[in-house]
Symmetry: D2
Subunit: 346 residues, 4 copies
């Protein structure tokens, strides 16, 4: 039986793999100077409705965050993030490696507290000693967040206003963006992201690529982009690997279809969990569902189904995660439904 522990346990979506197979022996230039990469960039620009954006492709999520943040900020600027933001928790210091302080702010279920952001910024510049402090240069958000939650359009607009007022860049980490876009509750389209953000990423790895994240700069293109990417060790010789995959992903609505289908499965999983009496840690509308278990329950459940021991509550209970993805099938969820014991039976 398949595990539901995370959304990158398989290789590539069949259509992605098929594109790699089909183009495998074509001779192409390296470093992204191939027709597939160019076409993929055009399709991404069309999808976001921002024809003058710069789109490039990088291999992984940490790399994408580090490269984009470093390219969007001055060397001495810091990055504002929800304390739960990936760059503050699970990025192994990749942003600090580039010299930038990560400044953690309060959040609610992973969503940055916009009031706290506003308070931080107004306090910062009112402080007579602010020149001795790290100047904030960028706001980092994840959409969906690490908790599977979503920003509302109103929140995003307010953050953009603050960014404009305080001369900040706004960058959205979209490692799981497709699973936001596939959600009925989601208010932010690709076009909205292009409107509100200076840059955002379009995660491919968790949406069915072998690897690859789209990096979109909607306002200014960083100077010497290829050089800077390479300096970070992030330039792929066979750029086609990313170009061919993203070209396929943005053909015939595959990216959207994957997101929608995974969310349909996630909501079924949510319903199955609810029906069997599992309490949710918080409400997540996206492809990750979080349930609370005590130590004994978690151990017992492990024997029945595969999930992720995601974290702990302050009082020591497990937060466990069930994840759907591009690879989840109705049969998988049926099987989960059959195998999942009622919570009271753990």
């Amino acid at each position: 039986m398949r595990t539901f522990e995370c959304d990158y346990t398989e290789g590539a979506h069949p259509k992605i793999l098929e594109a790699l197979i089909r183009t495998n022996m074509e001779q192409m230039s390296g470093y992204g100077f191939d027709p597939y990469t160019e076409r993929a960039a055009q399709k991404v620009r069309a999808a976001i409705g921002a024809p003058v954006s710069t789109v490039t492709f990088l291999t992984g999520g940490t790399q994408t965050n580090a490269v984009m943040i470093d390219l969007l900020t001055a060397s001495y600027e810091g990055v504002l993030t929800a304390a739960t933001g990936h760059i503050n928790v699970h990025e192994a210091g990749a942003v600090e490696f580039c010299g930038h302080k990560v400044i953690a702010l309060p959040e609610h279920d992973g969503v940055l507290d916009v009031d706290a952001l506003e308070a931080y910024l107004s306090t910062f510049y009112a402080d007579a000693t602010y020149e001795h402090m790290v100047r904030p240069g960028l706001v980092y958000l994840t959409h969906p967040t690490e908790y599977g939650t979503l920003y509302t359009k109103a929140q995003m607009q307010r953050i953009r206003v603050l960014c404009d007022r305080y001369a900040l860049k706004l960058y959205v980490d979209g490692a799981r963006l497709g699973y936001a876009l596939g959600c009925p509750e989601n208010e932010l389209t690709l076009g909205d992201l292009a409107t509100y953000c200076d840059a955002f990423s379009i995660g491919g790895t968790k949406l069915g690529l072998l690897c690859g994240e789209g990096a979109v700069f909607t306002r200014e293109t960083p100077r010497a982009l290829l050089t800077q990417v390479k300096r970070h060790g992030a330039l792929l010789a066979k750029g086609r690997l990313l170009g061919v995959q993203f070209d396929a992903m943005f053909t015939d609505g595959l990216y959207e279809a994957i997101g929608k289908e995974a969310i349909r499965h996630a909501h079924r999983i949510r319903d199955v969990l609810a029906a069997k009496g599992y309490p949710f840690a918080w409400q997540s509308p996206t492809n990750q569902q979080f349930v609370l278990l005590d130590e004994r329950e978690a151990a017992s459940l492990k024997k029945a189904v595969g999930f992720d021991l995601w974290g702990r509550t302050p009082d020591g209970r497990w937060i466990v995660r069930f994840t759907s993805s591009w690879s989840t099938t109705d049969a998988d969820v049926d099987e989960l439904e059959r195998a999942l014991p009622r919570k009271t039976d753990l």
Copy 2:
């Protein structure tokens, strides 16, 4: 009338200046290879009772913190600090510039919460994803803290035990260390610091030098020390400037005398403030005294005496600071006493 805003508003203590004048035309080698630097290091070693320590001298506090932390940690390790720690607030990102994440932990009036430290460390290594997180490599403390408060010996011992258990270095920022040592309430001697810490600094700038901080490594000497210091842009050609000053500071008990005398003045200032009805933000036994005022009171008081608008409480009141130093005289405090209005008269 003199201001009490901070402890570095004058030049050098007369005995320090006198030493510079006396030695001015002696020819000496550069980069710390002069007899005064060597003698100063010996006197510091004697004062801390740690004859095998390595002692070097750097120009300023931020520089000392950045250099010592970078030399004591592996490149990928982070630094644990009270959220109020100088490196987390007022160091302009100098530690992140060296690539290290600064990890902020809870504190009480500037003193790191040792329970929170223990919880962080035990939770960290229990987390299955810890390899994706920044590995803690060093605990940073200030003594006295930014709030003028002090660590107890019991706290320091407990922190050392945690450092040993989790393979952490312990570094104490002693920018105002002399003002701790001059305090009756202080439990930690120079010898204790040498015992508990891997390294600590002995601030000179705030104790009456033109510039200069002693950097003490009590356990291991960093490899290629001079090279590493120079790489940080922290090596002074005329190292004598630091050596001569520290030699004089550690001659005939000057360092101790300065600390004691300044604390005597600080306690008089505290008594004056109390007698005139000023409420303290918290209890500080050292040379900085913190008083709460509202906006109107602060503006009114500014007309009478010189102090520092140090910060704000969450509810918006001013925390104002009165500081004594090596340069404070009884006459200064007498004058403050005369000039200071009763709080009710503001």
Copy 3:
């Protein structure tokens, strides 16, 4: 007609692609904790005859060089390289990004001049000011070199002796290592590299992988390896992409076979070029062949066949490159032979 401009113009060798297809829907853990990565590491260890080596896999060549050099050296140490070394010329400053000076030394057709290396090291430590200079920490070699040339066993042994004498690490960049191993003239086996080097890379991208370089540490394993790799933005979520490919590459002698076959084609290309009167820039025994042309000849030849305008001689002539690879066929070389004009006919 195919181009001979470089060795990464196609996707993956059919057997590599087949392994990706076969394993595509298997569920595996991420970040290299999958059975294929483990098996690939074992097979690499077996191939190099160094069972206690640490083997990991990274996506690209620049990344591999930057990560390995940074992990092998202290933060303040520099890297010695032939002036023509990839890290000194075509790495966009990725090594300096990690804070290390790249120290260029004389070479002959890409091979580091070992006498110059010895002179540098003995002079360095004899210099009374060496503490003000960048301490050399590592020798970087490429095998084959950027010029397609090879180190002899005697050269490698001498370099190792110097590394031991001066406490240096030795790292070999093997981006095209398979094309050295496939050469009759090559004296250095994988086992020799394990013996002489502290670390080396086994390039996959140019040998028929979509992406991927093996990173071999033969003496000490860097502490916190996964964390350090992630900090560099170099950890792949779907580590299987690298593991599956390297597992296939080191199964049934594929790696060796690819190298040998490509060299057979390279030597045919060399013979074709020679027979048609093209002068070689220098003798290369490996898969890259370098020919001298003037401006007019180069322009004329471009109309007939595909090659790389690789560089210029000091007197302004073109050095052009013909490359074979895992994807070259006898039919390709036959076609080149037919299409290639005699030099005198250009």
Copy 4:
């Protein structure tokens, strides 16, 4: 008898020391917000005839070079320098610590070969692979050079033209600038430097300060200057130490007088050396004079007078250095003349 080994063997010029003594007990704000620093900056601006320049003061030479280069360049840009440039040889990797590659070019007696510079730049952008290389961002010169030699106005103009053509910044390291300005042979005034350079430094340490280098930005002021300086660990709490000294240095022509007087002594030393038969390694018009000796001669001469074993020629002879400075007196040179044996008597 005094040694002539270098120009920073004493403390401060008497007038500098006197200014420190006179102002010692004045209360002033820290971090350069004192009236002396402001006045010093104004006087420097007046001296260079560039009233809109930004002038700040840093403690040492390496620090000044690292800070200014880092502030003047984009993070991914490299620095072009004569191979003999201080940042390439004796800066312990401080520039690479900030992430910038130092790109060494040919020189003649320490003067960058302008033809080589032009060739490098025109070749660089003609290279189809230049995006994979480190983009040059700044030209670094020293005036006088490490060899005591000087740039002509024509050379400086040509370099400026190249900088304009290739969008490079031009920075002159003036650690010994006063000793150039004091030279009859010098063609470049402070005003010329302001005209041709984006930034330059005015060294104080070697001209008679305890420490301190002026940092002049003539075109654009770096954003967040104080924050950036502090991030580098280069902000002094008692900024007055630098302000008071530079104020005194630029009062009543002291800076000029020091330079001229030292050059007068240097030329006497040169004449004494010549008269006693010592061969010069090259012609230096400034305060450092370089003489060739073999091993035996150097050892013999060491018994008679104090000088610096500066370096070796490729054939193993010593290049030894005699230096004058602000502290040299006629009596010193008289004594040297008496004590110096004829070369034939060594």
